[in-house]
């Protein structure tokens, strides 16, 4: 298949089909509606499952059921909808079931707005569900990267028996770019889902149970320790980032997704003016690419964390920096996208931006 011009949300849907999705459960919310709309047509036409649920709460629990039964399953939503899904996400993570959750961020808090935002960084990486769990969170920057990530996400989820979240914003969901759907996905050995609750006829002599209840405190702690071991392995194997224009930079910008796109333009403008600026672009937000910060030159003048939110990823930047460099912050919120000139200005007047 040659490159096609496609809207982000529809590309998410087609990528999921290419990734072998068996079932989608979801509830309408702007700005991600083209995902379920596309899937409603194309999944049902191919004998797969598409079901519009009565709420986001139900959708994520349908995902839990189908994931437990061994299906490749996904849901998609946006900020307030993801908030409603947090309960189920915690249970799915606890029960170690694989699934894909697509989050197309809009402005918050509350109903907020429907314009692109990155204000759900905490929601994705810290989670609103209870307990010590983590998702694997990817924040692609282009529609091509979205497609490649979605296709691979099902394998990654299956491999680690952990939910994967692909985090984009309304801009990526709504814009069009040319994209190739047939780029090969990394080969992984995926064991049989011999844990699936699909009836003991499929695994005589053994009952399979999908469960998050551990009433014995010792067993619960052991389960938590096991989860943490798994997250360590994920950190080791699945951390992703891109170093952009990283040639002995004076300043380093840290930005992801749509904000990284804007910063690329700003970096070009700054370079033309002779100011050397590079960028760390985290692709995995959990695990966070802390090791990328080791590559920042000792004499760099500072790190600018740029977000379409009011300082959420900033926490991870401060942790990763660990006091080595001055850290400044630039943030816009509620769907207000900055021009690259604003980033240029923030670098030129870095001292005004320093938070630590």
């Amino acid at each position: 298949m040659a490159k096609v011009l496609m809207k982000g949300n529809e590309a998410i849907a087609l990528a999921a089909i290419k990734g072998g999705v068996d079932a989608f459960y979801g509830y309408p919310i702007t700005p991600q509606n083209e995902v379920p709309e596309y899937l409603s047509k194309h999944l049902l036409a191919n004998g797969k499952v598409f079901l519009q649920s009565e709420s986001e709460v139900s959708a994520i629990n349908m995902v839990y059921g189908a994931a437990g039964a061994g299906a490749r399953v996904m849901t998609s939503s946006s900020s307030p909808g993801i908030a409603l899904k947090q309960e189920g996400i915690s249970y799915i993570a606890a029960a170690e079931l694989p699934c894909l959750i697509v989050s197309v961020m809009r402005g918050g808090p509350g109903l907020g707005g429907i314009q692109p935002s990155q204000a759900d960084y905490y929601q994705a990486t810290r989670g609103g569900g209870n307990g010590d769990y983590s998702l694997i969170v990817y924040a692609p920057e282009t529609i091509q990267e979205v497609v490649d990530t979605i296709k691979e996400s099902f394998d990654i989820a299956d491999y680690y028996r952990n939910p994967v979240m692909v985090l984009v914003d309304g801009l990526i969901g709504q814009m069009m770019e040319s994209v190739d759907f047939d780029k090969p996905v990394k080969e992984r050995f995926l064991p049989e889902k011999d844990w699936a609750t699909n009836g003991t006829a499929n695994h005589p002599g053994r009952r399979n149970v999908a469960n998050s209840l551990q009433i014995d405190p010792k067993a619960l702690e052991e389960h938590n320790e096991h989860l943490q071991e798994k997250y360590k392995l994920i950190k080791k194997n699945e951390t992703r980032y891109e170093m952009v224009n990283f040639d002995d930079p004076e300043y380093v910008i840290v930005a992801y997704g749509t904000m990284a796109r804007i910063c690329r333009s700003a970096i070009e403008m700054l370079n033309k003016e002779g100011i050397k600026v590079g960028m760390i672009r985290p692709i995995s937000l959990f695990p966070y690419p802390e090791k990328a910060f080791d590559e920042i030159p000792k004499n760099a003048k500072g790190i600018l964390c740029a977000e379409l939110s009011m300082g959420q990823m900033l926490d991870d930047v401060l942790i990763a920096n660990n006091g080595r460099h001055k850290v400044g912050f630039f943030g816009r919120s509620g769907g207000m996208l900055p021009d690259p000139e604003e980033i240029v200005d923030a670098i030129k007047n870095f001292s005004e931006r320093v938070v630590k």
Binding site: M62, T197, G199
Partner: protein, 252 residues
């Protein structure tokens, strides 16, 4: 000992795990009926049980089949997710009145309205058992609970919600019956109803639910026999027994 005849043995539909229910509670009887139905219909090895939150939270350890444990109220959503990807398996939820009639009423109504081909075993004992006897949406007017210590005030908290009556209005429901297990006659009726619900699912007729009016001696503060009598005299007038919907019978 040469000519031993087996007159009775425990159903293979239950594991050997000791039940966690309080003495005198009817959950044990209901578990047995559900398990026997699965064995009688030869579907135990295709069955997936959904345990809910409440006293039956551990039921995934008791039914001798695959199982999933659902968040509070979400059993019917989870069952939907499974059944849609495994349409030839037998999927059932086992839920109490707090789980189904309060926090999970949306999930349950919409599963029924979609005609999900699942079976819901709804145990209604008019109280929150697991958490220690709080008022349920099904609690009777004047019923004393730990959160209605002077008795349920209907002007303040409403009247007992009647699930079977409500669900009878839903077009896609295939079979709906309210039963009780407080005496042998009703026990046999309940046994028949539960088996029929699973039979309907096996025949892909759609959503089936059996509401079982039940006791909670510990949280009602009664001896088991008194609890059975209270069920008969106080609960059944509010929750009358009978078949509320039977699409099979309508069509035959």
């Amino acid at each position: 000992m040469a000519d031993t005849t087996v007159k009775y043995e425990k159903t293979k539909g239950l594991t050997d795990k000791p039940l966690s229910y309080c003495p005198g509670c009817t959950h044990g009887i209901i578990h047995k009926l559900v398990a026997e139905a699965l064995v009688d219909l030869d579907v135990l090895d295709k069955a997936i049980a959904i345990a809910s939150v409440g006293c039956s939270v551990f039921s995934y350890e008791f039914f001798n089949c695959d199982a999933q444990q659902a968040p509070h109220g979400r059993a019917c959503a989870e069952a939907t997710g499974i059944k849609r990807v495994l349409p030839d398996n037998i999927v059932f939820t086992y839920q109490g009145d707090g789980d189904l009639a309060s926090i999970g009423i949306a999930e349950t109504i919409h599963a029924a309205n979609r005609g999900e081909n699942i079976t819901v075993i709804f145990v209604n004992n008019a109280i929150y058992g697991m958490t220690g006897g709080q008022m349920a949406p099904t609690s009777l007017p004047g019923q004393k609970t730990t959160t209605s210590q002077d008795g349920r005030d209907t002007a303040w908290t409403g009247n007992p919600i009647k699930i079977s009556e409500m669900f009878a209005t839903i077009e896609s429901v295939a079979y709906l019956e309210r039963v009780s297990v407080h005496d042998p006659k009703n026990y046999l009726k309940a046994k028949k109803a539960i088996k029929k619900a699973f039979q309907y699912q096996k025949e892909k007729r759609g959503f089936s639910m059996i509401e079982i009016v039940s006791t909670c001696p510990v949280n009602w503060g009664m001896k088991p026999v008194d609890a059975m009598n209270w069920l008969k005299e106080e609960m059944i007038p509010v929750f009358p027994l009978g078949v509320f919907k039977d699409k099979g019978a309508d069509n035959e």
